[in-house]
């Protein structure tokens, strides 16, 4: 693969991904509104929002640390975009496959959160600082169960001896469901559920939207951001949502429908890509849209306690079941 080729692919994935992320955000808002008995904004509203923000004045508070305050939105967007390049998009291998594995993806997913927290600290607003503290506590809460899930899957794939274990391409190419026995399936189900719970937390959506918590700290980390900076965070959030859903798909439901239907060539690839987009949407709908209309916002200590003990225990149980299964199946 030549460098130029990779560059074109990357540009295609980034622009396509951004477009898609905004469309999905629009659908998410529309569906959430419908579930709440509201009419909701038109699907294209996120595009209008970004367009409007880009022409608005970008205010930097006098008390802010200017360079950090302005840098963090870019960092968040770049990290969120880079994650997309490491994820298999339907039938296509990741653009950067071979240059990093699922561990890099985990770190990259944490970068927007850290960037938002640093931006909040740099904004010099008490609301921003409280939001930043909460974001960091959240980060520490959900990273551990998330890491357990990923390590469990990678460890099991390593046992199959089919390629580099931590590579997302390998994980996606070898769905574990068919490789393990009944105990393993149970373990995988547990891990899948843990990942679905972690997803809205990773994305700071209700009931885990405490770093922003509009009614409590008036937008928290985002409170001082405006104009272009806010647009960049908005895009980063949309991209991260799609990336997180795509990660769930890659880890647990990487199946295509073209091969079973016996369609090959370009048609099959298009069909698989469409199916992939549907899967990403379903994950987003299940883990973000329905969850955020069904709960009240929790408190940071409730989340930390819930993630550290019960959720981690469930993830560990899943891991244990996979280990037992390997001992049984061999």
């Amino acid at each position: 693969m030549s460098v130029l080729n990779a560059l074109w692919q990357a540009i295609l994935v980034l622009f396509g991904g951004t477009f898609l992320a905004l469309v999905y955000k629009g659908i998410d808002r529309k569906l959430a509104a419908q579930m709440q008995g509201r009419i909701g904004p038109p699907i294209r509203q996120p595009f209008l929002d970004v367009g409007k923000l880009l022409v608005k004045e970008t205010v930097v508070p006098r008390t802010a640390v200017r360079w950090a305050f302005n840098l963090m939105p870019f960092l968040a967007l770049i990290a969120a975009g880079t994650v997309l390049l490491y994820l298999p998009i339907g039938p296509f291998r990741p653009v950067l496959s071979g240059y990093g594995d699922v561990i890099v993806v985990l770190y990259l997913l944490a970068v927007p959160a850290v960037a938002m927290a640093l931006g909040g600290f740099a904004s010099g607003s008490p609301f921003g600082v409280v939001g930043a503290q909460r974001e960091l506590v959240m980060l520490m809460s959900y990273e551990f169960p998330l890491a357990v899930v990923v390590v469990a899957l990678a460890w099991r794939v390593a046992g199959l001896g089919v390629g580099p274990a931590f590579s997302l391409a390998t994980l996606a190419a070898n769905p574990l469901w068919a490789q393990v026995g009944p105990l393993g399936v149970l373990g995988l189900v547990l891990l899948f559920l843990v990942l679905l719970v972690v997803t809205p937390a990773e994305l700071s959506k209700i009931p885990f939207d405490i770093p922003e918590a509009e009614t409590e700290i008036a937008g928290g980390l985002m409170v001082e951001y405006s104009g272009v900076n806010l647009a960049l965070f908005y895009l980063a959030d949309a991209l991260k949502t799609v990336a997180m859903a795509a990660l769930v798909v890659a880890l647990f439901i990487p199946y295509g429908i073209a091969a079973p239907l016996g369609i090959s060539g370009v048609g099959g690839q298009i069909l698989d890509l469409a199916f992939f987009l549907v899967k990403v949407f379903c994950v987003m709908f299940a883990a973000v849209t329905t969850v955020r209309v069904a709960f009240a916002r929790l408190k940071v200590d409730q989340i930390a306690r819930g993630f550290w003990i019960p959720l981690t225990a469930v993830a560990a149980a899943g891991l244990l079941l996979l280990v037992l299964d390997k001992a049984v199946v061999g």
């Binding site: 409280v130 009931p207 509009e214 409590e216 008036a218 209309v293 408190k299």
Partner: protein
């Protein structure tokens, strides 16, 4: 860490998404924990009492109605009672029933509004939209009966301004059935929801003795287990005949803990209670006159002759509201008009409630007393463009000076 954390102050308000009306809290926090709070009201002071002293009593009624948009029957009901007291006017029974019906309709709409706001403060917008959707029904009935969704313009000195016609009875009864059918579901959504319970149980606790000492009123006091309700303790209008009992969480079958959850319980049960009251009123309401003096000029002439003072009290959705008026013969306007809104009594209960809570609890605890700043604000001192703090002695001195100036006729 310690020093840094201790120095942290979070200002909430006067403009903040958690606040529906302006007030300023300054919280001192350690991490997420609140260690101190300073409350500064006074941003919504409009001088309504002062304006009232320069208008005739019917015009004052319009002002009283506009003290608060949500209690827009509570203030007029208290005012007309005060004036009727002072002038010795008898109110026909049918008019008393109509006042009670509209007052209870207002309680339903106010409590549902509050429940929606509480859900929003918890970040549970789905519940907000559900509650406010069902609230539309009572607003429709209020519009049907009074002509307005807010500011009903129903009480007048000596009676009410509109009768309830026989055609309207079925519509009100239909509304009663609608809310009865809905009540179970509403209770279930609020009281059996795990995330609501996690956010409201043992949050913002007000102990019964604190509630007693701080003179809390309304649902705030009742949620702490005090059976305190003007309708029960000092019956007025026809409330005495209806046999109202103050509602506490015990009626829901739980020990009162005085937390936010209990305040939700009390308000939801009061919605059911109001529905029962309205139903009974519709059945028992006698035929007859609805005003003492139907013609406004004749009424004004009668009131101009009146001399004396009167107090009117009413159990508003938020608690006890008191109006005091003093009338002098030969004067169309009241000589003194003093309003005490429920929030004024409940304000102090914020201090024990906020103690040792988390930042995340601020919105719901603040909202839990259902504060109404525009009802309550009496004073805002700006001297030479700067704000100052005035202590009791100086305030007393200032107000005496002002009264003296007004008595001399150049206030």
């Amino acid at each position: 860490m310690g020093e840094l954390a201790k120095a942290f102050e979070i200002p909430i308000g006067p403009v903040h998404p958690a606040l529906k009306e302006p007030i300023r809290f300054t919280f001192r926090v350690e991490g997420e924990r609140i260690v101190g709070v300073d409350i500064k009201p006074g941003f919504a002071h409009r001088g309504i009492e002062f304006m009232g002293l320069h208008r005739n009593l019917v015009q004052v009624l319009y002002l009283a109605e506009r003290i608060c948009g949500i209690c827009s029957i509570s203030h007029p009901v208290a005012l007309v009672q005060a004036v009727e007291n002072a002038a010795g006017i008898e109110v026909p029974p049918r008019a008393q029933y109509i006042r009670v019906i509209v007052a209870e309709l207002e309680r339903i709409h106010s409590h549902l509004l509050w429940a929606g706001v509480a859900a929003h403060e918890l970040g549970f917008d789905t519940l907000l939209h559900l509650t406010w959707k069902v609230r539309e029904r009572v607003l429709d009935i209020l519009e049907e009966l009074t002509g307005n969704r807010v500011n009903y313009a129903i009480p007048i000195y000596g009676g009410v301004r509109r009768d309830i016609t026989p055609e309207q009875y079925p519509r009100v009864q239909e509304m009663i059935r609608y809310y009865r059918g809905l009540f179970e579901e509403l209770c279930d959504r609020f009281l059996n929801d795990a995330s609501v319970e996690a956010r409201t149980r043992d949050v913002g606790v007000l102990e019964p003795d604190e509630a007693e000492a701080l003179c809390a009123v309304g649902p705030t006091a009742r949620a702490s287990g005090l059976r305190k309700d003007v309708r029960q303790d000092w019956p007025y209008l026809v409330y005495g005949d209806l046999g109202i009992k103050a509602i506490t969480p015990e009626d829901y079958g739980t020990e009162p803990r005085g937390d936010v959850y209990d305040r939700i319980v009390v308000r939801l049960l009061e919605v059911a209670q109001s529905i029962d009251i309205i139903e009974r009123c519709l059945e028992e309401m006698p035929e007859g006159e609805i005003t003492f003096i139907p013609k406004i000029p004749a009424l004004l002439a009668q009131l101009k002759k009146a001399e004396g003072e009167g107090i009117g009290r009413h159990e508003a959705p938020r608690g006890e509201v008191i109006h005091y008026v003093r009338l002098e013969a030969g004067k169309e306007e009241p000589v003194v008009w003093k309003v005490k809104a429920p929030t004024y009594s409940n304000l102090m209960s914020w201090y024990p409630m906020f103690e040792d809570q988390e930042i995340a609890d601020i919105p719901i605890v603040a909202a839990s007393i259902d504060p109404c700043m525009c009802c309550m604000d009496r004073v805002h001192l700006v001297r030479g463009g700067r704000e100052e703090l005035v202590w009791k002695e100086e305030l007393l001195k200032l107000s005496r000076e002002k009264t003296r100036k007004m008595a001399l006729g150049n206030g």
